[in-house]
Amino acid sequence: MTEPIVQYRDVHKSFGDVKVLKGINLDIHPAEKIAVIGPSGSGKTTIIRMLMTLEEPTSGDIIVDGTNLWKMEKSGKMVRASEKHLREVRGDIGMVFQHFNLFPHMTILDNCMAAPIHVKKENKEEVRERAVQMLERVGLGDKFDSYPSQLSGGQKQRVAMARALVMRPKIMLFDEVTSALDPELVGEVLEVIRDIAKNDDMAMVLVTHEMDFALDIADKVLFLDEGVITEQGTASEVIEHSTNERLQTFLHRFRKV
């Protein structure tokens, strides 16, 4: 198998006295699709936020493409990463949020163009072309000049995905991207994710409560329980055949709701 593009090595995270993650070890390989499931509060969001540099681990290492994300070498010693170091390392990572977080003062097209132009200093015309292409791909080819407030939740989330894709990340993180949506809008968003998963070769980590969906697209499923990954394997191993009791209870409760 290829070298992992991301490695978590014994990563711990506490908020104050509360230990949220207790020793996470995880490899993410290029193009791998990973689904993270688990009860509310088990730390799923925190795992991916640390990789996006939105939350700093309390201890342990996260290695991205061979470089330590949160630590850097300075005169022979490993010290806390600077903003500059974080920017260099996180460039290949993108994220889609539960509440979209579109920029409300920009049109849909500008939402997708701002970062490639200002962050990657790419040519404006090329970026426009790519942004247009992405928006068409997510089915919003007629909305370029709309503002986020004029869109439905499902449309907003599709814009958020286009915005992340225009940056051409090697790793995409999805944090329960359908759970703030009205039920009838969930399908259109899942369709887009499915399309990305099938046709793009980036690694994806999806925190999700959509079990059937996870079963369908994930190469690997992780069950997170009270800050520990207690089960991992292929979707059918974890979701259909595991004998782990807490996982069974979780799945059971879940399917009933």
Partner: protein, 223 residues
Amino acid sequence: MITINAILDIFPQLMRGLGVTVTVLLASAVLAYLMAFIAGLCRLSQNVIIRKFTGFYVEVFRGTSLIVQLFWLYYAIPMLFGIQLGSNWWTGVIAIGLNYGAYLSEVVRGSILSVAKGQTEAAVALNMSRFQRMRLIIFPQAVRMMLPEFGNYTIQMLKGTSLVSLIGMTDVLYYGDIMRSTNLAQAPLIYLLVLVFYFILALPLIWLTRKGESISKKGVASG
């Protein structure tokens, strides 16, 4: 008829003060906005010294009255330090500008802090630098939120300019006072017209504030 004649007498007199009132307002507004952004951003700086220093400026100017600050600049500073602030006009502009700049810097700071955290997070996820996040994402939204308060404070600033008549500036109120002192019986009418005069000057500001309110309702994620 007598009243109409009186009004026709008084109004042109008040008009003579218009230039001073308007120029003091415009100049102190520019200074106040400038101070507001400088101090507002400095108070969010990561540098403790910068933060404390601007905090001191803001609290001093908010915690004491404008008229005392005006007198300090006009009488005390030249005596104590031998510094002349140029003309009376400049003294008035600096006092009003610094005073309202202090208030408005809190508006700037508050608006920046009230842009939703998710906006910063999305910008981080797009790998923007701290400066890019501020310039492209946070600041444009914060400015929209500031507009109504900036309008309100500018209206207050207009009213505040009348204090410069106390340091010998010939503004609208000054000419009103002059007329009153020569014709005491007309005092009610004179001051009524002074009120009307300031109100007319405030009208465009009131209109702009309304406009600001409707703009600020759109295009921001706060929370």
